[in-house]
């Protein structure tokens, strides 16, 4: 099986070229002006071709919470969004804190056959923050990164031991940075809007305190800490400082944190309820600049499907989180349109950098010998993101039925066409 992509704007993290891409088997075999006859031809004029996006932070709810999402629907949403590699989080039911669950997830994704997944293993058994999970066995089964995402590891001693242990296995810690006591029962950002709405606030400092702590634990242990869903200016400043010390730290931001502000919460719409919460305009600007200057290395969606019944309730009782796999491309392209960064940087933060962070050197670039993981994107198409387009089992996003610009049209995973608009 071979595919020839003709007339492509081939966008890599470092340069853009016009040319063709020849795919043989699961790999890219040639890039350039090609004259090949024996292949299926796809004309890519007017579109850009980028390396398949890598989303380091999704929730596929499988096993156990399949009424929200499963690995099949999650994979479908991913490829519809141009995403070909995902890291599903460990807060499944049961928790992914042992190699059996890790293996189940990988096998199921293989059976579905649309994307590669690298399940995130729990740091502690049952995400309880106390006892280390069988990190080594999960690492052997295919987990690269470890996290108690959704719950922070509050005990600094436990986090230190986890960091030391994970470092020895060449793994990464994904830090869900949240001081649970300080965040308390908060449901939105602590600030102007919590004052107006009477909704309890989560101060920015609840995130920043744990980021500061984990920067210091990285200093203590040398372990690679990757900070999840960074949402505040203070967090950005701390990470910048940590990087200036030469520490082994990286960070991600979620599209909603650079697209929306806390002002949306004046509506009490639960589709704007996420953790960390939407912050202020100043925070949004800081996140954008941090993505631009490299303080934040990549964009991850924190795709968090929830059933309608979990959102159509009193605000305080509603589940945190929104789906994001299919809005990743249009929302990030918006930063390109705003001239925050160029299209090469788009590739850097959505594919190249995640591939380097995860040491998945077979992807993240369009070059001969690399995996044929590609997304063909129409940057200018305007459309309404509605239920006809949505591939997730859930619809919890404030962008549903909203006008978006820029869409993934075709996704190729390991040489196979896995999605066509």
């Amino acid at each position: 099986m071979s595919i020839l992509l003709k007339n492509c704007n081939i966008v890599n993290f470092d340069k853009t070229i016009n040319g063709d891409i020849f795919i043989e088997g699961d790999k890219i075999s040639q890039v350039g002006k090609l004259d090949i006859k024996m292949a299926e031809v796809i004309d890519c004029s007017g579109k850009i071709v980028v390396p398949g996006l890598i989303d380091m932070h999704v929730h596929f709810r499988d096993p156990g919470l399949e009424y929200k999402e499963d690995i099949e629907t999650g994979s479908k949403a991913a490829v519809a969004g141009g995403v070909t590699t995902c890291l599903p989080m460990a807060n499944t039911k049961p928790v992914n804190d042992n190699s059996y669950i890790t293996t189940y997830m990988i096998d199921k994704a293989k059976k579905v056959g649309l994307i590669d997944i690298y399940p995130v293993g729990a740091i502690t058994k049952g995400l309880d923050g106390n006892e280390l999970a069988e990190i080594g066995e999960m690492r052997s089964a295919g987990a690269i990164a470890f996290s108690d995402d959704g719950k922070p590891v509050m005990n600094s001693e436990v986090m230190r031991r986890a960091a030391e242990y994970i470092k020895g296995l060449d793994g990464i810690i994904l830090s869900h940075s949240e001081d649970k006591d300080l965040a308390g029962k908060g449901v939105i950002n602590d600030g102007k809007i919590s004052t107006i709405t009477g909704l309890k606030g989560i101060p920015a400092e609840a995130e920043e305190i744990i980021i500061a702590r984990d920067i210091l634990i990285s200093k203590l242990t040398g372990a690679h800490f990757h900070f999840c869903h960074v949402s505040t200016k203070g967090s950005v400043d701390l990470i910048r400082y940590g990087k200036s010390l030469g520490l082994n730290i990286t960070a991600e931001a979620a599209p909603h944190h650079f697209s929306l502000t806390e002002d949306e919460l004046l509506s009490y719409d639960t589709n704007f309820k996420m953790n960390p919460p939407l912050r202020t305009r100043e925070d949004v600007e800081a996140i954008k600049n941090a993505i631009k200057d490299g303080t934040i290395d990549c964009i991850a969606t924190d795709h968090a499907p929830h059933h309608r019944d979990e959102k159509f309730v009193e605000f305080d009782l509603a589940a945190f989180g929104i789906i994001g796999l299919q809005t990743l491309v249009p929302l990030t392209l918006e930063l390109v349109r705003q001239n925050i960064f160029d299209i090469n940087h788009f590739v850097k933060v959505t594919s190249y950098n995640p591939s380097r962070i995860l040491k998945l050197n077979d992807r993240g670039e369009i070059a001969p010998g690399k995996l044929a993981d590609l997304a063909i994107i129409d940057m200018d198409k305007e459309y309404i993101f509605d239920e006809n387009l949505n591939r997730s089992k859930s619809s919890n996003t404030p962008f549903l039925n909203k006008k978006l610009k820029g869409i993934n049209c075709i996704t190729i995973k390991s040489g196979k066409i896995v999605y066509q608009l």
Binding site: S194, G198, L199, P203, Y268, D316
Partner: protein
């Protein structure tokens, strides 16, 4: 006179004119309340359900009396006796009761924003009788009515609200309303009970009780709770009373004819000593009395508007 809105969920989005309309209408209903026969047939055949998910005696009774004096059928629904304990969702509960032909819900709920949530999901009129720490619009309206009655005006008055501002729906509703009415509002309380970002209130936050009380026409004391959601906000009520409570000496800083208000129930000896709660300057029972008239006005203005719409249709 009518209000061109389906619901009263808060005063944040109610205009100055609407507030003044409600207060003027309430004056007429107050007159009815002083008659021998305190009942008018205006809302005969209308059904009002008092949907209370949080305990309340004063507010619920006040709404019930208000509805009955307008000849509406009023039914009380309290959460403890309801299906919500059986796991029914809030909107399912509302829709089920609505199906029985209800014209209006008066709702109290322990979560902020939940009354707005109900209003968006029912055809019936909804009046907020207190939602979490968000708003309690009819309390603010009865406060304003009482102030206007005692002072003859609203604009230009100096008002102090003292206590747990962060968790007070009374303070929030009053802050939004008073800003629109040109009242000079001052807030004071322990820092654990003042929002970190208070500038949306558009008023002064004082650094001492003397500063708060100084030159005031109205002093409103809020009920104090030692803890909120299991978190202690104060060392002790004794200390609160000493540092943040009103007393005779502090009252002297206010205008001579200043009135003392309280949304009740009072913690005697904590925010207010009995001596002041029962003194001539205290208008606490006037507030309760006026509550009925104000609630009659709100119920009337919301339902009458509906009647007009029906006629036009």
């Amino acid at each position: 006179m009518s209000l061109s809105r389906k619901d009263l969920t808060g005063l944040i989005d109610v205009s100055k004119d609407e507030i003044l309309t409600i207060l003027e209408t309430a004056e007429k209903f107050k007159e009815i309340n002083q008659r021998e026969i305190k009942k008018v047939p205006t809302l005969k055949g209308k059904t009002i359900v008092n949907l209370f998910f949080e305990p309340s005696t004063r507010t619920r009774t006040s709404f019930e009396i208000a509805g009955k004096r307008l000849s509406a059928d009023t039914i009380n629904f309290t959460a403890s006796a309801s299906s919500t304990t059986k796991g029914e969702t809030l909107i399912d509960t509302v829709k089920n009761i609505e199906s029985m032909g209800v014209d209006m819900f008066v709702v109290r709920h322990y979560y902020s924003g939940s009354v707005k949530f109900i209003a968006e999901n029912t055809r019936a009129h909804v009046i907020n009788a207190g939602d979490g720490t968000n708003e309690h619009p009819t309390q603010s309206l009865l406060d304003l009515f009482t102030i206007k009655e005692k002072k003859g005006r609203l604009e230009g008055l100096n008002v102090a609200i003292i206590g747990d501002i962060t968790h007070s729906r009374v303070a929030r509703s009053n802050a939004w309303a008073m800003k629109k009415l040109g009242i000079n509002l001052k807030l004071y309380g322990p820092n654990t009970m003042i929002p970190k970002d208070y500038e949306p209130f558009g008023c002064t936050v004082c650094s001492s009780i003397d500063e708060a009380v100084e030159d005031c026409d109205v002093i409103m004391m809020l009920r104090i709770q030692l803890e909120r959601q299991g978190i202690a906000l104060l060392p002790s009520l004794k200390e609160y009373s000493k540092l943040f409570g009103l007393n005779k000496d502090r009252l002297k800083k206010a205008k001579k004819d200043a009135i003392i208000m309280h949304p009740g129930p009072i913690n005697r000896g904590v925010e207010l000593p009995s001596l002041l709660a029962d003194c001539e300057q205290s208008v606490i029972l006037d507030q309760v009395e006026n509550g009925v008239a104000v609630r009659m006005a709100v119920i009337y203005l919301l339902t009458i508007q509906n009647a007009n719409q029906k006629l036009e249709a």
